[in-house]
């Protein structure tokens, strides 16, 4: 019986440990832990500071609960039993003051981190940021490069080391754009413009997604952020422009229809003011 139980215990332990061994870390590589830009790196840094503080918050509870419950078990008759004891000023101070102190300390950290990492705040840089206008559609992302007059669906190419300024709106319901390895998320809402500043510090392909449920194609509304060295970024723009595939009204109707884009799509030219047009378009349709 005992042996059986031991074997069962071991099997259970193995079962729990298995995913850790078999590439649990591979999942975390997709997240902020494997940050690839200054914003995400700073966010991870804030997390690390907080994590250390939180060890001291949870530690005492995690230790005291089992220790005190076990020590004062009813079968242990060797201990003091004070059924009428229910208050002590020193203890009271000990349980109120340290948490208050910790919260005050964390508030200072929170205040400064929130202002420093405000998504609306431009990143410090010598060059002006790359402007990208993002339109959330069902179930795809449209990225417009207003200065380059090109656009892409479900692919966002950016040059490494340059600050990027995303302006977001939605041509449909509310959505939320998240690129965990580069920055936090921000909502995209029809008739409104939100902002997000980010940058990539190394080349790579990073996962971007919508995190706000918006219907049947939600789970396929992901895109790649391709961070390229500046020459590679210029080549990418040249290639998109050379495709001779303008975002005309027919293409626009296709892009804004409720559908999943099976692969990224590129447009060599966009009508001027398209972002502003799409931002107001869905507020004109009375059915919506």
């Amino acid at each position: 019986m005992d042996r059986e139980r031991r074997i069962l215990n071991r099997a259970a332990a193995l079962l729990v440990a298995l995913p850790l061994l078999l590439g649990g870390c591979a999942a975390l590589k997709l997240g902020v832990m494997n940050h690839a830009g200054p914003v995400a790196a700073d966010e991870w840094h804030v997390y690390l500071i907080l994590a250390v503080v939180l060890i001291f918050v949870a530690g005492p509870v995690l230790l005291l609960v089992p220790l005190i419950a076990y020590h004062y078990r009813i079968s242990n008759k060797g201990d003091a039993f004070r059924p009428d004891w229910g208050f002590s000023w020193p203890l009271e101070i000990l349980i109120w003051l340290p948490p208050i102190g910790i919260v005050i300390g964390l508030s200072v950290l929170l205040w400064s981190a929130t202002h420093r990492l405000d998504p609306y705040r431009p990143l410090p840089a010598n060059l002006p940021p790359i402007e990208v206008q993002v339109v959330a559609l069902d179930w795809k992302w449209l990225f417009i490069y207003p200065d380059e007059h090109v656009a892409a669906v479900n692919q966002l190419a950016i040059p490494v080391g340059r600050a990027v300024h995303l302006s977001l709106t939605s041509g449909t319901v509310m959505q939320s754009l998240l690129i965990p390895q580069l920055a936090g998320q921000i909502y995209a809402m029809a008739g409104m413009r939100t902002h997000l500043h980010l940058a990539a510090s190394r080349p790579g392909v990073f996962r971007g997604e919508n995190t706000q449920f918006n219907g049947g194609g939600f789970h396929e509304q992901t895109f790649d952020v391709i961070a390229l060295q500046p020459p590679g970024y210029r080549r990418w723009l040249t290639r998109v422009r050379a495709a001779r595939h303008p975002l005309d009204s027919r293409a626009l109707a296709r892009v804004t229809s409720r559908s999943v884009a099976p692969r990224p799509d590129f447009f060599s030219s966009v009508p001027p003011g398209l972002f502003e047009h799409l931002m107001t378009a869905s507020t004109q349709d009375h059915a919506r």
């Binding site: 975390l28 966010e43 964390l106 936090g184 998320q185 939100t194 996962r207 004109q284």
Partner: protein, 694 residues
């Protein structure tokens, strides 16, 4: 969608509204699951009807339960609703976990729209039709007993609350059989739930089920608060009330102030959908941000509505099973009130990512962290309650210990989410899902189950099976860790919540572990049912009719188990907190009163069932645009209320002789029972009288 069958009579009902028809036309696994679920509802209802007919129990059900205004029976019916709905929502959780574990790089077996219905019903049920009825039932049952009252302040209102909740829950069940439910999640964010994007019946089911539930909770809140303010027995000052009564009061206050914003939000959304208004639409000046504010002005206090009663339960459980006074009663009361007030100041942290200024985000982030202080204080209060006590590891105590260890982890991730820059990264991901399950499973579910185990002997006169109780508890705890710790990792890895299929194979191992956890949680529920079954079969060996199986502290333990309809033959007079506990040690707690009096109790009433059924019919009719039925139902509700206001004869008298007979029977049982020491309280030797050293 095919054409409506008979629009004048059946509104927009069409044959393919029935999942059976859909499964017949298109027999995929996805449709068969839908038809299977519908069949389970139909078979369940038919089974119950046949059983009641066979046993000839219809009259009994109607006169003893459905029309009763006894707060104890209403409380039990609330808990029955909660357990039935828990079963359904848990099955849905298992389906979702299985789907995500299977659908890695492929579509799996549940279609996207169906998956969205699953997470929407799971969330809506767990909050509005599991947690809320469960805690409302417990408060209903316990608070009058704890404050020495014979009933709540407004018994009929109480029953109406029960029936409105039941009508909402019934709408949730009907949505399985006729039509489809909303795909907009439990929070129902527009514009996705607006007519332009979701013209079907789903969001309407959600609107009317939630509206019925929210109105019921508002009424309940008023009732509980007035009961506690006005119905306490002589000597029961506020600061002598058991902590559960205190947390019930705070929950009631929160219900009164937090439920109306929800009712308003769903009502405005209904105006958008039914009458072409533009409160939350994209067009004509509508603004979804107003909805987000209204919903979370309800939604955040709601978190504390469901968690505060559990804090009260843990206070009672830890104190009782440590054989010791609660440490820091006053500071616990202050902490509870502080939480209740602060809970109205943090709603914005549910949408840090909506683009407001960093100063606003930071202010709400700091307010959020501030709530952690009184909550942390509470945990230490329970720890110091065990300190220098004699701790007995019974099932409720295991729940309490598991809660303290697990809840603190959820608190940590709560602080992480309170940091706006960190929230930006994990908002809307599985990290958030893991966090709120980490608060609500230990914070609410464990508390409810601890209370169920702890007070079950009081309500039914026999103890629950301890062995199966511990098995169930162990599975709830193990299952929770297996199911939700992986979700923290997946959220930190950027996996969005509400994802029907998973495109990243790297998520696979964690989704497998979570799936195992979901199965363990399902087994935990099965063990709970087995426990109930075994306990009913062994009930004669475990009777505790004298009523005090755990050496309890509050007034509820000073009555028989189950208590008589009138609760107390003589209204108790107390001169200190835990009067009964001290009376057992100092004087004779079971002394018969000098004389017996007639007792006036509310007469049964069919008003609540009529209003409940008519309101449910109105909800159903509005969902399907069956206008004649909606008007008729509304007229029945209004007519019943008017007719009731003319009824004068609403009370009946229990004669002193009957009271005396009941009391004598009980006191004889008390005298005959052998008082037992705490060490053997979980054995059949426990007859419901505690051995105390004087």
């Amino acid at each position: 969608m095919s054409a409506p069958v008979w629009p004048a009579l059946l509104g927009r009902f069409a044959w393919d509204s029935l999942p059976f028809v859909r499964a017949w036309q298109n027999p995929t696994i996805n449709e068969l699951i839908g038809a299977g679920a519908a069949a389970m509802v139909v078979v369940g209802v038919v089974f119950v009807v046949l059983l009641l007919t066979r046993l000839d129990r219809w009259r009994w059900l109607w006169s003893k339960w459905l029309t009763s205004l006894d707060h104890k029976k209403i409380g039990i019916l609330y808990v029955v609703i909660a357990l039935v709905m828990l079963a359904r929502a848990l099955v849905e959780a298992n389906l979702m976990r299985l789907q995500q574990a299977v659908a890695i790089g492929n579509p799996g077996f549940v279609a996207p729209e169906h998956f969205a219905e699953l997470f929407s019903t799971h969330g809506s049920i767990m909050i509005f039709f599991m947690a809320m009825p469960f805690l409302t039932g417990l408060i209903n049952y316990l608070v009058p007993l704890q404050i020495g009252a014979r009933d709540v302040a407004f018994p009929l209102l109480n029953a109406i609350g029960l029936w409105l909740t039941g009508a909402g829950a019934a709408l949730m069940m009907v949505s399985l059989v006729i039509g489809r439910f909303s795909t907009g999640g439990w929070s129902g964010y527009p514009p996705f739930t607006e007519i332009g994007f979701n013209p079907g019946v789903g969001p309407d089911y959600w609107i009317w089920a939630v509206t019925l539930g929210s109105i019921a909770s508002t009424l309940t809140g008023i009732n509980i608060a007035v009961t506690i303010y006005k119905m306490r027995c002589p000597g029961m000052t506020l600061m002598r009330m058991p902590l559960f009564a205190w947390t019930s009061l705070c929950t009631a206050i929160l219900m009164i102030f937090a439920m109306p914003p929800l009712t308003i939000a769903t009502a405005l959304l209904a105006l958008d959908r039914y009458l072409g208004f533009h409160f939350f639409t994209n067009a004509l000046g509508g603004n979804m941000m107003n909805y987000a504010n209204l919903f979370w002005m309800f939604g955040h206090p709601e978190v504390y509505i469901v968690v505060l009663p559990a804090f009260g339960i843990y206070s009672e459980v830890v104190s009782t099973f440590s054989s010791k006074e609660l440490y820091g009663y006053t500071s616990l009361v202050i902490a509870t009130m502080a939480i209740a007030v602060l809970s109205f100041t943090v709603w914005l942290h549910h949408f840090f990512t909506m683009g407001q200024s960093p100063s606003i985000n930071a202010a709400f982030g700091i307010a959020t962290m501030t709530i952690g202080v009184p909550t942390g204080v509470k945990i230490y209060n329970w720890i110091w309650t065990m300190f220098r006590g004699e701790v007995r590891f019974t099932t409720p105590m295991w729940y309490a210990l598991a809660f303290m260890m697990t809840f603190v982890l959820g608190g940590l991730t709560g602080i992480i989410l309170a940091f706006p820059p960190l929230d930006y990264v994990v908002h809307n991901t599985l990290f958030l899902v893991a966090h709120f399950h980490n608060m609500l499973i230990p914070g609410t579910l464990y508390g409810m189950l601890a209370a169920y185990t702890f007070w079950f002997p009081k309500a039914f006169g026999f103890r629950l099976n301890e062995r199966w109780g511990r098995i169930s508890c162990a599975c709830w705890v193990l299952g929770f860790y297996l199911a939700f710790m992986p979700l923290y990792v997946l959220g930190a890895a950027g996996m969005a919540r509400r994802t029907q299929a998973v495109m990243e194979t790297a998520y696979r191992p964690w989704l497998y572990v979570a799936e195992i956890g979901a199965l363990v949680l399902f087994f935990a529920f099965a063990a709970l049912i087995v426990q109930l079954w075994v306990s009913i079969r062994q009930r004669d060996a475990n009777r505790v009719f004298p009523g005090d199986p755990w050496d309890g502290r509050g007034l509820e333990w000073s009555t028989s188990a189950p208590p008589p309809e009138y609760n107390f033959a003589r209204r108790p007079v107390v001169d200190q907190p835990h009067w009964f506990f001290d009376a057992k040690r100092k004087e004779a707690p079971y002394a018969p009163p000098a004389e017996y009096h007639d007792i006036e109790m509310p007469r049964n009433s069919a008003v609540a069932p009529i209003i409940g059924i008519a309101s449910g019919a109105v909800g159903f009719a509005l969902v399907w645009h069956i206008w004649w039925l909606a008007i008729l139902g509304m007229l029945v509700v209004i007519g019943t209320v008017i007719a009731r206001s003319f009824v004068r004869d609403t009370h009946r008298i229990i004669p002193a002789r009957a009271v005396e007979r009941t009391e004598r029977g009980w006191l004889e049982a008390v005298a005959k029972a052998r008082p037992i020491p705490r060490e053997i309280e979980t054995s059949p030797a426990n007859q419901g009288v505690a051995l105390v050293t004087r």
